[in-house]
Symmetry: C2
Subunit: 381 residues, 2 copies
């Protein structure tokens, strides 16, 4: 099996991730932050250490500003719904995932309006359009860092600058870039950063992160036991407890910690270099195959390692099915939970076949994917 669905979940994980999950479950699988016994303390220490390692990766000062969630969707819902109130306005882009668009659309019902800035057909954002979309009541700008459909990168540093100048909160969805691209919340003026644990950060599914900047105070979306201020009937107003009710996914977070340590050891620049090289190689090869249409910028410097294509007018699901069943190559087809992005790219009807490259893919994997595509194209012609 050649796995090219890393934009959904990276696979495989570094062996250290598997080992740490098992180590946690077998040796300190207790409840962190509640009891004071040895196993509970060890669980608590691991979670704190993970917060610290996340801080290293994104230039965050205070580990207590790291909130653990279930996945990036959970993080985005908390960030968006926790911040805005009736009468507020949100600016976002047409390349967002449904995890951004659907919460924003839901908020319309309680009187939160929005402007969805249109990107060009390659998914590129003109940051001036963000500036133009800002109104007096704009409370939040939210953009992805890279499209999950065609990989196109957004210049989050420039958007962050605008947000800071206009004193508007900036939320970045780094689902497709965390662990691979340099993201510096301070230099890039990012107030909130939503991250999945199970993609570029190489942790297991069931982990997500929201960085909530020091000055931001969100309404929590759920309440419950926090292990702190147990005597109070209301949610404690201390971070991260306020946003983290109930037992956390300790083994998952321990695995995520191992994933992040792997990234810190390998070096994020080396990881990106490898993915960029494979992406550019794949893009070059694809350009030589007739009938294949490649979406996005077709430039590995301008996009994450996510490549969407179609073969003529072939149904994208059928192509994905053939890649899997005949060639043992795992891709994703269809709409990728981003209908507005597909509208932007004019692929709402056909969807796309998405290849997404991870750190553990090799040039040989790409060669096999190219050969498979050539074979399918030959069959059609």
């Amino acid at each position: 099996m050649i796995y090219l669905d890393n934009a959904a979940t990276t696979f495989p994980k570094p062996h250290e991730v598997y080992e740490e999950i098992l180590n946690c479950m077998k040796n300190y699988g207790a409840n962190p932050g509640r009891a004071g016994h040895k196993l509970a303390l060890e669980a608590g220490r691991t979670i704190y250490e993970t917060r610290e390692n996340i801080c290293k990766l994104f230039n965050i000062d205070n580990p207590m500003n790291i909130v653990f969630t279930n996945n990036a969707t959970d993080s985005l819902n908390l960030a968006i719904k926790g911040l805005v109130n009736e009468g507020d306005h949100i600016v976002t882009t047409s390349m967002e995932h449904n995890s951004v668009i659907r919460p924003i659309k839901t908020l319309e019902k309680i009187g939160v309006s929005n402007t969805i800035v249109k990107c060009n057909e390659s998914g590129e954002l003109d940051v001036n359009d963000i500036k133009k979309a800002i109104k007096e009541n704009t409370k939040l700008i939210v953009t992805t860092h890279a499209s999950n459909v065609c990989g196109t990168l957004i210049d989050i540093e420039s958007v962050g600058k605008i947000a800071r100048e206009m004193n508007i909160v900036y939320l970045v969805d780094a689902s497709q870039t965390a662990g691979v691209y340099n993201i510096d919340v301070k230099n890039m003026n990012i107030d909130m950063l939503a991250l999945p644990g199970h993609k570029g950060l190489l942790g297991p599914q069931g982990t997500g992160i929201l960085y909530v900047g020091e000055k931001i105070n969100l309404n929590q979306l759920k309440e419950g036991g926090t292990g702190s201020k147990s005597e109070e009937l209301t949610q404690p107003n201390i971070v991260p407890d306020k946003y983290e009710s109930g037992t956390p996914n300790t083994p998952g977070i321990a695995g995520l910690n191992a994933g992040i340590q792997f990234i810190l050891k390998e070096g994020i620049d080396n990881i990106r270099k490898h993915e960029e090289e494979l992406t550019q190689y794949f893009l070059n090869e694809l350009s030589l195959i007739p009938i294949i249409k490649v979406y996005g910028t077709k430039d590995a410097k301008k996009q994450a390692a996510v490549i969407s294509i179609n073969i003529g007018s072939q149904d994208s699901s059928e192509v994905s099915f053939i890649l899997d069943s005949v060639f043992d190559i795992a891709t994703r087809s269809g709409l990728h939970c981003g209908p507005l992005a597909h509208k932007t790219m004019n692929t709402l009807e056909q969807g796309t076949v998405r290849f997404s490259i991870g750190y553990f893919n090799t040039k040989e994997d790409i060669d096999k994917a190219v050969a498979a595509l050539k074979s399918i194209v030959d069959e059609i012609k």
Copy 2:
């Protein structure tokens, strides 16, 4: 280490649980319900099979009525906040965990009122008091099945009967009983059932379940990618997708499946019998030690395997600390995220030392705990 903190998280897990988590991560660690390739399909199948096994345990007909969440707190928030609207009234008890009380208190701000029925000092509920608390606008009754502080069981069958007669939705928090006690949603008239995966169900942390009865339509608390109806900008109105946005905790759910299969194989009655025997033995031994005050019913037939005590007026945290550091026995002390329960039991100042027994505890573990307590009592006298 003698682990007696199973009410927080059961530890250890059956070895099948560790193995299945690893098997999932190493062999089919892809994203379920999104792509159509082999690994994604296998992940999807495992999640569906887990829904089916949960149905077996609780006499649920439709696997699509099983919603996966992060933990029981997540489940309770969705159940409570998803159901009620301004003007509604909720009936609950004074023995609830903060994961029930805090959401209910938060709802007061949007005009949802509540009545908290007081239990007696042993944590026992007079079900007639539930009946008396019902008003014309009561939309929801929520009770725990067993107190997480002193273990006292609530007669959920009788409460369910009242709820059905009065046509009110009944939500049960089975955090302390699922996997150990027989819970039959049909015969007990339970409309919603909130469950942690990591306690009696023997799965890993990071997993929770909400059963949402066929007739119940909740407002979802978050929106995002569901892998279904990707073309729509609003959350799809199909279950369980409506309530399950974003990538699920597939390895966690796979581990939970292994835990539930273990329970089905061992037999829930055998599990309960073992825990009841150890609980009664412990209660008997405790009654022989001077100065020790045991809370709750002191009858293993009337309580789950959760035993709260204090030694004279000793600080509960100090006793727990000594148990851990001198005797290598893991317990939890303090308020256990249940301030109203402690008020009911008159332990709000002192807290309690909580011993919670799991299926893997032995008589020898209890003997060692008893010996340790005797030794601490001797030291004090």
